[in-house]
Symmetry: C2
């Protein structure tokens, strides 16, 4: 394998870590082994991903004593009970504090496994091996881990950084088209909030990206992770600027919840939510109509929706948005766009303009 490997570093002092991106990285043990410090490894994956890639990971792990924990596939298993199952298997196998835990899968597997690694004996080594575009550019980088509670998504968790992230673009070859597009929504988001040039690049290369050209994917993932890494390095615990990463997410969460989880994919809901945020930004006089149009064109090129579902009512949106986690002290804060490639978090927006966006 002679293709390009791109590596970047998330700078968090003594908790800094590398993010490796490229084609065929699951055949390169040299990236993984420096981060395995103890005698045992635990690979956590699910019933869909494990049959495809777990043997490659076993080959990389080599001589270490390894335990596999294979979970059922689906967001409904992202619970404290599932984390406890991981603990039980690790304790039954006498895994000690020097164990290294690897998450092989999408965002659900990464979130569950990260929280498990954070909590097992108060924290063991953890490596992210994301296999979906969404988890590659979003959840695998930055240390947000956790599970759902019946009363709220991602309500239980930890900020816990991995030792490294290994992103093999080849794993995207088994991802279905709809999931690939959903991941692309978060890629486009980085352009919208931080990088107008990246928007141009994405518009030019969207065809090749959707055809899974490995070099284009490596570049898009690299630029996305670089933005994420910079934001997280400045604001690990989301005291401020990290919230910019939530562009479109407050509207999007309302859509996901309103439609019932699973009906709209997260990335699809975020895509529609980003258009709503852009329209509100236009209502504030910050974006031109042509800007909003460009955003819609790019999202459509990625086969993403640009409007919320017809049957969501204004009242549904208002109810669901006021319980979003981004609400502090009862005030609704939204991420809006000041210009193409520049976002802000604000509670100082025009409520009539918001209403107009919700009416559609």
């Amino acid at each position: 394998m002679t293709s390009v490997i791109k590596t970047l570093e998330l700078d968090l002092g003594d908790r800094s870590y590398p993010i490796h991106i490229g084609q065929g990285l699951l055949q390169d043990a040299s990236l993984l082994t420096p981060h395995i410090h103890g005698g045992s490894t635990v690979v956590v994956s699910n019933e869909t991903v494990a049959p495809l890639y777990i043997n490659k990971l076993h080959d990389l792990i080599g001589d270490y004593r390894n335990i596999d924990v294979i979970l059922p596939d689906g967001e409904e298993y992202k619970t404290l009970d599932t984390v406890n199952q991981i603990f039980t298997q690790m304790l039954e196998q006498h895994c000690d504090r020097k164990t290294t835990v690897l998450a092989l899968g999408g965002g659900v597997i990464g979130d569950i496994t990260g929280y498990g690694a954070a909590s097992y004996q108060r924290g063991v080594n953890f490596i992210q091996v994301p296999t979906t575009l969404l988890s590659m550019v979003d959840s695998s980088v930055g240390g947000k881990t956790g599970v759902n509670h019946p009363l709220g998504k991602n309500m239980i968790g930890a900020f816990y950084q991995p030792q490294c992230v290994i992103i093999d673009t080849d794993t995207l070859n088994t991802l279905d088209d709809r999931q690939l597009s959903a991941g692309m929504a978060e890629v486009i988001k980085y352009g919208l909030i931080r990088d107008a040039d990246f928007l141009d690049w994405l518009q030019e290369n969207m065809d090749g990206l959707l055809k899974r050209d490995p070099e284009l994917l490596t570049e898009a993932i690299y630029r996305s992770c670089k933005h994420k890494a910079e934001v997280v390095a400045d604001d690990e615990k989301e005291a401020g600027q990290r919230a910019l990463l939530n562009l479109g997410h407050t509207f999007g969460h309302a859509i996901e919840t309103g439609m019932g989880y699973g009906k709209w994919l997260h990335g699809e809901a975020v895509a529609a939510g980003m258009v709503m945020a852009a329209k509100l930004s236009q209502g504030m006089g910050w974006l031109e109509a042509t800007d909003v149009q460009r955003i819609e064109t790019l999202l459509q090129a990625a086969n993403l929706p640009i409007a919320p579902p017809k049957d969501m009512t204004v009242k549904q949106f208002m109810d669901l948005m006021s319980v979003d986690k981004k609400v502090l002290d009862g005030v609704l804060r939204l991420v809006l766009m000041k210009s193409m490639g520049e976002a802000i978090v604000t509670d100082d927006f025009d409520h009539d303009a918001l209403l107009k966006v919700l009416i559609g």
Copy 2:
């Protein structure tokens, strides 16, 4: 209330926090309020402690919206299920990320509550208000939080530091004598591992301490917390020196497990364990027979056992000690004493000498 307040700081950079110690501190709102940042507080306590002190804490909290979570009393409730009950109550009451969670009780309450605070929405503010001597001088300081798993004690948890620790010596007036003595074992431990002068002071003042003289208690707790804070500041995650705090604990855990949890109190088992560690240190030629005798005399003055239960066999000890969490890579490491007031962690001890200690 004009008595002395002693305050020390645990130095962990931007996560540093004060530890306030003195008589009547639960009547002094000025210590608490600077650390409550949000609109809501949650007091977690148990059915034994809450009736005694929760009203005092409510008075200190004042106008904030407060929720009480009252758990049953006992180590058997130190589980992931109990933590999940705290999450449920907090979510039902729409507690946001700015909530401050207060632990009012002994070590079990502090450990459960700390892990809950660490995990709720990936971490909210947390304040320790310990009400037993053991939790005042040990678990409330240093950020070790967690719960038990059916397959092991303290196997699930987080390193999560509080915003402050408030120690009111008056709360010790309702602690029974046996629990007070058990806490004294950890106080004596600090003398043994770090402070020979403190051993002299304790020998002189043990009568007054057991009579709960508030000024003597303040001094003993202050010196204990100071030692703990110094050790933790140097080695928060127990990569090295923090393990010295486990003097007597490997033997002690074997006693607790061997006898069945609850039969011997933790402090009682640690007391016997410290004598065993001292005898092994004597076997290594590091302590004199007179040193061991001094240790026994001091522990006896505190009404603590100085030998393991007669019915524990050597085989039981060996089996139980090799599964202790302090075992890394299958090698038994013990905390031993190089001299009075000086301890080391070592796997380089004479196995015949260990056997002799276990035979008794």
